[in-house]
Symmetry: C2
């Protein structure tokens, strides 16, 4: 990116992460952890492959991302956030918070990946019974299952399935977005087609009080 040439902290930050696609690459690495090139490309539908390569090089140069060449047998490189890159979580979190209202409309032809709900889920959900034994909830929406777990009073989300989830909810991205963000109460989500199996109390324990 061309530098703004301004002695201003915000402008300097944008000199590094203000390019198109750059913050979405950071989003991918925050939501999924270390990724291969192909994982990134799959999580960033629409990006041109040369742009992905360019951006990764710039981010590496800026000290935001590190490229980790795996040993010969594996023969695949891993990209991960450096400490400096992890510090962008606060920026992305606020961006996500600001962007959540736009999710009300639902995806109208938009691409969707389930792990895009990881960051908003961690922002919106809370463990309201931290003294009770931890619970695991599996969310099935879009291309892959999502796991939501209570850990030490906070809520962690990640891609993956569980064999012994306390509850399993299944629904369209639109309804799941409404549920996780607190826009929809559980009953309303069910009325809109959400399927909820297992221990509903485990679910209610972490859902935000709606309407948010």
């Amino acid at each position: 990116m061309r530098s703004y040439g301004q002695y201003c902290a915000a402008a300097k930050a944008l000199d590094v992460i203000g390019d198109r696609w750059t913050l979405l690459i950071v989003r991918e690495l925050l939501a999924r952890g270390a990724c291969r090139y192909t994982d990134l490309r799959d999580g960033l539908p629409g990006i041109a492959t040369n742009l992905l390569a360019d951006r990764l090089r710039q981010l590496e140069e800026a000290g935001v991302v590190s490229r980790e060449e795996a040993p010969p047998p594996i023969a695949t490189a891993l990209f991960r956030l450096t400490l400096r890159g992890e510090e962008l979580r606060a920026v992305i979190d606020e961006l996500v918070r600001w962007g959540i209202p736009f999710m009300v409309d639902g995806p109208n032809g938009d691409a969707f990946r389930a792990h895009w709900f990881v960051l908003p889920a961690e922002l919106a959900l809370t463990d309201r019974a931290p003294q009770r034994p931890p619970v695991t909830i599996e969310v099935r929406t879009g291309d892959a299952p999502l796991l939501i777990e209570t850990v030490d009073g906070s809520v962690r989300a990640r891609q993956g399935a569980a064999e012994d989830a306390d509850a399993v909810v299944t629904g369209t991205p639109h309804v799941v977005a409404g549920l996780l963000s607190g826009r929809l109460a559980l009953d309303d989500a069910v009325a809109l087609g959400l399927d909820c199996e297992g221990d509903v109390r485990a679910l209610r324990r972490v859902l935000p009080r709606s309407p948010a």
Copy 2:
């Protein structure tokens, strides 16, 4: 901006504020309040005038900025953030926080406007003696004076001069940045050319404990 076409809160947010210059326009309105077109242009050195007009129109359409036509005698329009626009403060704040380390190098040919220190100052300074009577500090650096005031235990900053400031500090943007961010202790800043007149205790009351 072309939409990313992703059903993701961060991507949706960037669809609106991810264009080049857009967040810097928001920075201007956050740091200075309502601005005329010409004020914005002056606070955004390097922007092409047509881009400023374009961005303002997009931001207005997105409900982030409102254009207020002043009554006939004044004949000048004012741009201000809407409530939705004000909510971007959290995003800009995190961006500023992340960008502050880049200020260590000093402006190497970068443009500078004193009001660019308003947001970082409010982020970094705290009133450590809220029970005592409020103080006012004038900071002279760059193109215009800056006022820093304690209000109800917090610290507000804005453009402007005071007739009766408790303290007046004068220095280069580089040294002032170091002082405000806590990278430089007051003594070190003075050794680097900072001039400090008046009640030094008023200053120490709000400065971050260095090294930050």
